[in-house]
């Protein structure tokens, strides 16, 4: 029989308002094994923890039950508290009477009764707890960053700066991501390339950083401290280490009609290409879908002009395998497809463009050399209509996204301002639902667009765009003036909602990292652990966790890096001691457990056992490698003889909880 201490927390009024904490501690005092029971205002405070420790000594407690918030919140805190008082940390059980009791029930009597039952279940379980000792596992001192946009770049630079090796895996031929396509950045209007490209070069030159561009993560196994990752290096048909990036091939290639993805299809490029002048690595890539040589076997112009001899038409995808201690997801975002919003005539007129396309049309390295021209006829637009919230803040699953995309208000203000600055004779209208500009110098920026640059901000929404006779007839509401507007515009710019990159979902499955219903990665705690995934060893950087602008992304990238550095600076990690263990006397070596183990933690050994009449017999029995076992418990249920059990969640413990609840 254990000597159990029960500590009921008020959590200020969070618990105490709906649960009669005094009644709970009194009721639980009568449970078998309980030698001490009390309640206190804030059990997690220093005073609360001190009290727990002194009571452990005073009553010589062998086990502790804490009725408080979710174990996901403070289980670790209370385990440490008890450990300091000399108790094994696994002799602590938490009854969740806040998230799963006081916060969901209104009736005090009902909530109190439930709290007592939850406490009783925890007591019943802790009766059967046994001290557990955590093993350790080594840490591979190398990090993987998946995604080479500004988020991935910043994370990698910060990790490398602390002296650890980092690999960046980027699916495009160059790192840089979305920021390379952006013209100017708000609220300072400095050029995106000017602040990004030096960082890209830093990545390439940093000896701690290896860039796997044009590559994708194919499989992930292992666990925190020792992940094994398979990376597919897609065939560029150009030897990366031989190509000098001179660009001669990209001028001579006869296939000129390839839509230029970097300019979002607004112009064309060749079948062999370098996405843009500052690409890193600056290496040519052959687009296999368009290359005449690869498709028909006849051409070979690039190979002939390449003095370095870098072209290799026979190159194949290559899969490499690497080990990492930590993985950072930095897969970023994309604007949503505008196909579902054709009331704005995006598919019907080339002069209706997305905001990202507008960035390219304003950019000096873009298809128009930085002069704003209509894609349809190359004339200067005189009237431009910006539509905000296209696909953002939508209800229901059929169309659009339920969230605010966060960055559109600011970049639209930027676009409107730049238009008016460069071409003062243009009329610029912005249709908005709300203007959301929280952020340093953000609202001032938006006000400047209105007050100094004379952008017409109209509270209302565009309902229909009709292309006719070279104009875009815009029908919209002006809610403040109470009228419907009919504007003959030359261009319409749609602020499309942003969504996580499509690669994020399969990646999350590989990483066993959780995602929300919008396919953004979930953080371990929305406020207190914003850059960690609930899965140990997986960290989150940038817009893959939620919509973010550049300053926020960089801040979060640095935060993720610091978490990675904290992990990699350890030589050993403490393992989870709640692992499976077989009762060898009951094991008959049937291999059922081995087959269901997702980690390959179970092996079999032939072992000598004492038989009848002083004989010995050799039996095949299961063995669990505690450093590899993650404690899911699949084997415990698969075992037909009931030999396999899970420490900390044993059959008897869970049954005891069931009994206590059903009493």
């Amino acid at each position: 029989m254990q000597r159990i201490g029960v500590f009921v927390c008020w959590c200020g009024s969070n618990i105490a308002a709906t649960v009669d904490v005094e009644a709970v501690s009194q009721a639980l005092a009568k449970e078998p094994g309980v030698v001490f029971s009390t309640n206190y205002q804030y059990m997690c405070s220093q005073t609360g923890q001190d009290m727990i420790q002194s009571k452990i000594h005073e009553y010589n407690l062998s086990a502790v039950v804490i009725c408080s918030c979710s174990p996901r919140m403070h289980e670790a805190t209370f385990r440490r508290t008890c450990e300091k008082a000399g108790l094994n940390p696994y002799m602590v059980e938490i009854a969740n009477i806040r998230e799963q009791c006081s916060w969901i029930h209104k009736d005090r009597a009902e909530a109190t009764e439930k709290a007592v039952i939850l406490g009783r279940a925890a007591i019943a379980k802790v009766q059967l707890n046994a001290p557990l000792t955590a093993g350790t596992s080594p840490v591979t001192k190398r990090a993987l960053v998946i995604g080479g946009g500004i988020a991935g770049i910043q994370t990698a630079l910060d990790i490398a700066d602390a002296g650890f090796e980092v690999d960046i895996v980027e699916k495009e031929p160059t790192i840089g991501g979305k920021m390379t396509q952006i013209d100017k950045t708000f609220p300072t209007l400095d050029c995106a390339a000017c602040i990004l490209t030096p960082k890209m070069v830093d990545c390439a030159q940093n000896e701690k950083i290896t860039i796997y561009a044009y590559s994708e993560v194919e499989a992930v196994s292992g666990f925190v401290g020792s992940f094994r990752v398979k990376i597919r290096r897609k065939a560029r048909y150009v030897k990366e280490d031989v190509c000098t990036g001179c660009g001669l091939c990209t001028e001579k290639c006869p296939q000129k009609k390839v839509p230029n993805a970097f300019n979002l299809g607004l112009d064309t490029r060749r079948a062999i290409y370098i996405p843009f002048a500052q690409a890193v690595p600056k290496v040519a890539t052959i687009d296999a879908d368009y290359c005449t040589m690869l498709r028909t076997g006849k051409c070979g112009v690039c190979s002939k002009v390449c003095e370095a001899g870098a072209i290799d038409y026979k190159q194949k995808d290559e899969v490499i395998e690497r080990e990492y201690g930590a993985i950072v997801a930095a897969t970023g975002y994309n604007p949503i497809s505008l196909a579902q919003f054709d009331e704005f005539a995006y598919s019907q007129s080339p002069d209706v463009v997305s905001s990202l396309e507008f960035e390219r049309l304003m950019n000096a390295a873009g298809p128009t050399g930085g002069t704003l021209l209509r894609p349809s006829d190359g004339t200067h637009p005189k009237t431009i209509v910006f539509v905000q919230c296209v696909g953002s803040r939508c209800d229901g699953a059929e169309k659009g996204k339920p969230y605010c995309s966060k960055i559109c208000c600011m970049y639209t203000a930027k676009h409107a301002m730049l238009c008016r600055e460069k071409y003062p004779d243009t009329d610029v209208y912005v249709f908005y639902i709300d203007v959301r500009t929280p952020g340093k110098n953000f609202d001032e920026f938006y006000r400047r667009a209105v007050e100094e640059y004379g952008v017409h901000y109209i509270k209302g929404m565009v309902g229909k765009v009709v292309p006719e006779n070279g104009k875009l007839k815009v029908r919209a509401s002006d809610l403040l003036d109470g009228r419907q507007l009919h504007i003959d515009a030359d261009m319409v710019v749609l602020a499309a909602a942003i969504e996580p990159d499509k690669s994020a979902r399969p990646l999350a499955t590989m990483l066993t990292a959780s995602m929300d219903t919008n396919d953004f990665f979930t953080e371990a705690h929305p406020k207190l652990r914003p850059v960690e995934s609930p899965t140990a060893g997986i960290f989150l950087s940038g817009a893959c966790q939620g919509p973010k602008d550049i300053p926020e992304t960089v801040a979060q990238a640095g935060a993720a890096a610091s978490k990675v550095i904290g992990l990699l600076s350890k030589d050993q990690l403490t393992c989870n001691p709640c692992v499976a263990a077989p009762n060898e006397m009951m094991c008959n070596g049937c291999s059922s457990c081995e087959k269901v183990c997702p980690y390959g933690a179970i092996t079999y050994v032939d072992k000598e056992f004492r038989g009848p009449n002083r004989t010995t017999l050799i039996r095949r029995v299961a063995q669990v490698n505690p450093a590899v076992c993650q404690g899911c418990g699949a084997c415990t249920v698969a075992c037909p003889s009931g030999a396999m059990d899970l420490k900390g969640f044993s059959n008897r413990q869970i049954m005891a909880e069931v009994d206590a609840i059903c009493l």
Partner: protein, 126 residues
């Protein structure tokens, strides 16, 4: 008035509280200039219980039921359904039919499809 508001939302089967005041309905409405209360106002007036005023308005007969606002509403508020509900509330009262059978012969013209009369008759009558 609250009862009336509940009745309207029940008939319509939509929730005016979901409206985020974007005004896309009024930007999409082809009959905007023919109505004294515009689709977005309709939603907020139902929400604020100003049903009487809506019941007296001509706009309820001008709505074409073209569903442009229903289709384009990003919040599934679907103003046309609220407008229809108010129209029902009016026409279900005694003697409030907008179109009487006696009036039909006068409306006929040799090209006008039956469908137009039938529809109008259904729309404008209890």
């Amino acid at each position: 008035m609250i009862d009336m508001m509940e009745q309207i939302t029940r008939i319509a089967g939509v929730n005016p509280r979901k409206c985020m005041r974007c005004g896309k309905c009024s930007g999409a409405c082809p009959a905007y200039d023919e109505m004294e209360y515009h689709p977005h106002q309709f939603v907020s007036m139902v929400e604020n219980g100003r049903i009487d005023e809506l019941m007296r308005s001509k706009g309820i007969y001008t709505c074409l039921s073209c569903f442009a606002c229903v289709e384009r509403c990003p919040r599934s508020v679907e103003p046309a359904k609220l407008i229809e509900a108010v129209r029902c509330a009016v026409e279900r009262q005694q003697g409030m039919d907008r179109l009487r059978p006696e009036a039909v012969p006068g409306l006929l013209n040799p090209d006008l499809p039956q469908q137009a009369i039938t529809s109008a008759f259904r729309k404008y009558r209890k």
